[in-house]
């Protein structure tokens, strides 16, 4: 009932021009340093004015409605534009001790906070507002990838109101030794966060990136990441979302892989009130390979939606995807995993698995794996399960003397922790395991050497 009422109110507002539209129209597209993007921004804004925000009637938004957040959108989008000036390094914000090794890139309210220190040779991290001329072509070619026949509403919104974008680029054949830890934070309360990240992994280079979303209470973030992998390059991307309980994140990530490029994505959702990730991986070059793993914990009132789309465009491309989620309390998890194998992708191999645990009757999981195959000579498999804890495993632990409640908790956290095994940075994995453990209760049961003994 509630939902119907809210939907109607959204439709009603359309005719009276919601405040955010007015504000968007009045936004001046003259951000210093981004004049070269004004045309692109104007086009995106024109489309956005037509299309508005995603609505519950759209198939991709069937289980995730923004309708209940209309007021927040209106207020945040109408907020006067912040003075988005890169600040000097803030000594009161030291590198977090648990970040592990690497280069930290602080992006606050969409703006590169300070020039990252300790950039390795072959690696560039720059704000688009201060882009060295030689890099503009690389940035533009990434931005162009969003120009599609069917534009994405959230990407258009991000482009139209862009305050800054950050380009991370490698030189061909380079291999920066340390991971890049991109911390996307929202600091200004009651304003829309619009981070835009461009990652260009040049041919035969290797890169490790941690993308971490944090924020203030009541955060509302519309993030867009565009990532391109050149021939023979490798990227390990770890995406971690730990927003406050009332935070809202909409994130659109698109990866395009060239010939023999290889990517590993690990996505972790632990926070937020409503989080929706749309992750697209285009296997565009022959022999490209993608591994996508995901973990989400939809407890409390949390709503976590992961829409993934792996598109095999070129021959002999391979992908494997494993998403696992837990819903508890009044939480709701949504998973939609689509594998598309296009006519040009003969000899491809794709595997998709989604496993979910429902810990109580008030929680909900909606899962939908989809295969769209337009060519013979491919091997694809998919499966999704949603259920309770394995009764055999429970009995096994109890038969060794473990309390039933402890046994349940141990199995639950083990289930999620398995999904973190792809996180190759021990400090980060330990931090996430600790957070998971705290949320699920109980003591650590890590399988890491030394942790248990």
């Amino acid at each position: 009932m509630t939902r119907t009422t809210v939907q109607q109110s959204v439709k009603g507002e359309k005719s009276v021009r919601p405040p955010w539209r007015v504000a968007a129209e009045q936004t001046r597209l003259d951000t210093p340093g981004l004049a070269w993007l004004a045309g692109r921004q104007a086009a995106a804004r024109a489309r956005m004015m037509q299309s508005g925000l995603p609505e519950p009637g759209e198939e991709d938004w069937r289980y995730t409605s923004l309708a209940g957040y209309t007021q927040r959108w209106n207020e945040y989008l109408s907020a006067p534009a912040q003075a988005v000036v890169p600040k000097a390094p803030d000594p009161s914000r030291p590198r977090p001790p648990d970040a592990g090794p690497g280069i930290t890139v602080n992006i606050v309210d969409g703006v590169l906070r300070s020039p990252p220190i300790g950039i390795a040779p072959g690696l560039t991290i720059q704000s688009l507002r201060q882009l060295t001329p030689g890099l503009r072509a690389r940035a533009e070619s990434l931005l162009q990838k969003a120009d599609k026949t069917t534009p994405d509403k959230l990407v258009d919104l991000n482009t139209a109101l862009l305050g800054d974008a950050i380009l991370i680029a490698t030189d061909p054949g380079s291999c920066p030794p340390e991971p890049i830890h991109v911390r996307l934070q929202s600091e200004t309360a009651r304003a829309l966060g619009q981070p835009r990240l461009l990652i260009d992994v040049a041919a035969n280079s290797r890169l490790t990136v941690i993308l971490e979303h944090t924020g203030v209470r009541g955060a509302l973030v519309n993030a867009v990441n565009q990532i391109c992998l050149g021939r023979g390059s490798q990227l390990n991307l770890m995406r971690v979302q730990t927003l406050p309980d009332d935070g809202m994140l909409l994130e659109t990530t698109e990866l395009e892989l060239g010939e023999s490029a290889s990517v590993t994505v690990t996505s972790v959702d632990l926070g937020g009130q409503l989080c929706r990730q749309a992750l697209t991986v285009l296997l565009a070059g022959t022999g490209a390979d993608a591994t996508v793993n995901g973990v989400f914990l939809a407890d409390g009132q949390r709503h976590i939606d992961n829409h993934t789309r792996l598109v095999h465009q070129a021959p002999a491309t391979t992908s494997r995807e494993f998403f696992r989620g837990i819903a508890d309390g009044h939480g709701r998890g949504v998973f939609n995993g689509k594998i598309v194998v296009l006519p040009g992708a003969a000899g491809s191999n794709a595997n998709l698995t989604n496993r979910n645990l429902l810990l109580c009757p008030t929680a909900e999981i909606d899962t939908k794996p989809e295969l769209e195959i337009y060519v013979d000579d491919v091997r694809c498999s998919h499966g999704a399960t949603t259920g309770q804890l394995d009764a055999n495993a429970l009995f096994y632990l109890r038969s060794r003397g473990l309390d039933p409640a402890v046994a349940r908790q141990v199995l639950t956290s083990a289930f999620l922790r398995e999904g973190l095994s792809g996180i190759a940075i021990p400090e980060l994995r330990l931090r996430l395991e600790t957070q998971l453990q705290a949320r699920l209760g109980g003591e650590p049961v890590a399988t890491q050497p030394g942790a248990a003994a």
């Binding site: 096994y396 473990l402 399988t447």
Partner: protein, 247 residues
Amino acid sequence: MTGLRVAVGGKEILTGLDLCVRAGEVHAIMGPNGSGKSTLAHVLAGRDGYEVTAGSALYRGQDLLAMPPEERARAGVFLGFQYPIEIPGVSNAYLLRSALNARRSARGDGQIDAVGFLRLVKEKARLMQMDESFLQRGVNEGFSGGEKKRNEVFQMAVLEPLLAILDETDSGLDIDALKVVANGVNSLRHAERAFVLITHYQRLLDYIRPDYVHVLAGGRIVRTGDRTLALDLEAGGYDQFVPAAIA
């Protein structure tokens, strides 16, 4: 156990089983497929889905069947599973330490410290010829059939139960692994400890000498003897002991 009758899904599997196991004894229970061997093991360990319709089982004076599985374990009952479960994400070390501490606190002993625990598991791992690295791996995760069985006996060695029920621990083992498992069991033989070995084949009993051999058929014990009975079984099969009415 006296007159124990157990049904699964409405079908009676144990049909009045009598068995008395005293401390220090080793009993072998043999029988054809479907005779109720595994049902007996599961009922004694307290698994769900088994309905006790009649009879009783006393363990050290207590009503065993009234105790939940974890209490039985803490009181010293150990089941070696026929098909040990794989639990990725929970390390063998964690499981063992939790199990050991549960057992110790039931006895009124304090928690074992890290050094003492490590010393104990290293000693037992050596006994079972297992590489210590397995301790940090997930419980039975990626173990071969033989490794899983060895891990069951290893757990038993660490937990030092008073009543160990080994459900077809010998099946699926090659001869070398069988010797390791038998050696593990033999090293634990003790005046305070009893074993119930459930097995399909006589082979195990070449290495572990039982005090008694029972033939289980049609849900009850139809014959009891010493270890020569196992040899008779090997020679003549089960048919000779199965009453016509049941067969």
